[in-house]
Symmetry: C2
């Protein structure tokens, strides 16, 4: 059987593979990016689905438009974009079967093999995989605890003339770090100056429990070269697979054609559930609620880390998002820590796969704080802390 | 803005574009492939969805496995495949966000630019578009009223050594023609002899209202080179976007990796609805019901065609599927007929886009009989018939 060149050497996502492990309920998992199941608006979704299937089944069960379910696209324009400092027309907006599909469609519509895509280092594993399958050349932009450094980015853009820059400016995955307002302005400026497409992936920004809200890069976009990906996976439900993107009309048109050949259209019922949820104005109070839950989970995790982790483990306390990024001293191997942790029924994700540069990030790992209840967060962190102390003792 | 080479010259699907036209309820449409809205099992889906969101919301609203929702994969293996003469293990089976995604993932995992894919001529528009975006070289295999002719297929396989052959053996789109049992055996044999992947796309076979059921090509597959695409779009609901595929484990694994980067996983709720529908054994009686509905619609359409169409319009009476394929005498232009029909509020799809060979099929068009009520079928066919007579008078 022939395997396409683009798939040579592409292995499954480490996180997706981890899912199988998570079938074992005894394992305390800080590995995925799962929202807490307590944070799903279950009753509202059930009620909305029932009303939709009572009143609109003829439409929702039928084929739909590739562009998306019209009330969802309208709700996105009216209920989501204004809060991000954005206005849009219908032709700027496309519904997606999850944000990941946005990355796939952008690659299909824009990227030729060998094209340069800039990615933050470290960056979201799923995006890296999609870009690799698109046979792009990935060039890393160092990410710092205070986000993208403009001088570094500009020098890399100048050197590589990339087709695209992929960024998660707020509560980045895997780091939860934030690029500040000056970086955002500069990214928009560079998009214009170098005719560079910027993908602003924004799934976490709503989950803020500290600091001040920042404007989107897209809100500084004068050249229409920024495409915003908006997901409801972290705020409402990942299992429904509903996201949207907002970008220039020519690009959206090309993405729509690419989507025809990808899944024809996103499922109507799912889009309608989200549309109705937005139109009933349920999202703002829901986000307030779940942000408080995640603030608490993050605090329990960092309190436990302070208590159990050696003081030489480096991390920032998050003020939003779902993750805590940990760096061990040089020479440490997070994969060994992972192996031992799994033996003791605790899972997380090692950091190296989030890096583009070979050999980088072996001393890093990512902890997710949203998916486990308090007691298990404490227990899991204590276990990892004990292992770190053990491994340190062995090194001496 | 850069547009990828693969998208150069790829325009939107004519049928998808037609959808916009269909926003006008005054237009009688024989254009799409929409099931009749009366044929959706609305109450059952509503009840099942409600129970699922009551009992399993924690699981269904959460991230799911890329391979698919386990109860759906099991139900496919237990309730669908045996009737097709097939048995499979879980690793042979992947859930899809509609069959179209299967084509997209197969291209991603298998096809390099320039590879030869054989397609029936005429063939499904959406597949042709997906293969073109994959930058494959499409080589046509002539399709006849009695399906694929083995000698022709074998000569083409011998000449082109294709990576893949795409076939819809039962109630083909756009023709509704059927490849017989000998052709099916031969296709499976050629798959083995030439190590050629065969995509057996099977969305219509269940909608049979005449003749005898035929075994799948996959049931003759000794080399594990046939992948079967099974859709619930025509039998239960296209709007839910649920399909599955069954193929060899190595390929399914590659498709799963490709799917990680396409939409992470298919929506859980939709998969669970179909799983539950299958597990309640609702499908067999439902298929019996809707096949009777479509038999009646097809008869009304062909009765009207006999009454109103000139005798020089060629077509076969369908015994299943959703379409009637019409051929006008040489030199006729179905696009002109289409233009005039739309002016008189009747739509269908012209045949040329279903052909790979440039200039071929200009005298053909496709009628769908499943989407309109009886009176509108009669009225629309009468209108087309009148136009054909008018146009014929003009030619003299």
């Amino acid at each position: 059987m022939q395997i396409a060149e683009r798939m040579q050497g592409v292995t499954g996502s480490a996180i997706r593979e981890l899912f199988k492990l998570l079938g074992d309920p005894a394992i305390i998992s800080f590995g995925g990016g799962n929202p807490a199941k307590e944070c799903f608006p279950k009753e509202e979704i059930r009620n909305i689905a029932d009303e939709l299937l009572r009143d609109k089944a003829d439409i929702l069960l039928q084929y739909g438009a590739t562009e998306g379910y019209l009330p969802l696209r309208k709700a996105y324009i009216e209920k989501i974009l204004p809060d991000l400092g954005l206005s849009a027309e219908l032709d700027n907006v496309l519904a997606l079967t999850g944000s990941m599909q946005g990355l796939d469609l952008i690659c299909k519509a824009v990227i030729n093999p060998g094209d340069v895509i800039l990615v933050e280092e470290p960056s979201f594993l799923g995006a890296l995989q999609t870009f690799r399958v698109a046979q792009a050349k990935l060039v890393p932009v160092p990410l710092h605890t205070d986000g993208i450094h403009v001088d570094e980015l500009e020098a890399i853009v100048e050197e590589y003339r990339p087709v695209m820059f992929y960024t998660i400016p707020t509560f980045q995955n895997p780091t939860s770090w934030i690029s500040g307002i000056e970086a955002r302005k500069a990214i928009a400026r560079l998009a214009a100056e170098y005719d560079m497409l910027v993908i602003e992936d924004d799934p976490y920004a709503a989950l803020r429990f500290g600091g001040e809200k920042l404007p989107t890069i897209k809100s500084f976009d004068t050249s229409d070269n920024v495409i915003l990906l908006s997901s409801f996976s972290k705020t409402i439900s990942p299992g429904l697979r509903v996201a949207l993107c907002c970008g220039n009309k020519e690009l959206i048109r090309k993405l729509t054609i690419a989507k025809q050949g990808s899944d024809t259209h996103s499922p109507n019922l799912n889009q309608a559930i989200i549309a109705e949820y937005l139109n009933r104005d349920l999202l703002p109070s829901h986000i307030k609620e779940i942000s408080a839950v995640y603030a608490n989970s993050a605090k329990i995790m960092t309190d436990s880390m302070e208590k159990y982790f050696p003081e030489w483990v480096h991390y920032e306390k998050p003020i939003g998002g779902l993750f805590i990024w940990c760096t061990l001293p040089d020479g440490w191997d997070a994969a060994e820590l992972f192996k031992r942790a799994v033996e003791r029924k605790v899972a997380f994700v090692t950091g190296a796969p989030f890096f583009v540069t070979p050999g980088k990030g072996n001393n890093t790992f990512r902890l997710n704080f949203s998916a486990e209840p308090e007691a298990r967060i404490r227990q899991g962190i204590q276990t990892i802390g004990e292992l770190l102390h053990e491994m340190n003792a062995e090194r001496k």
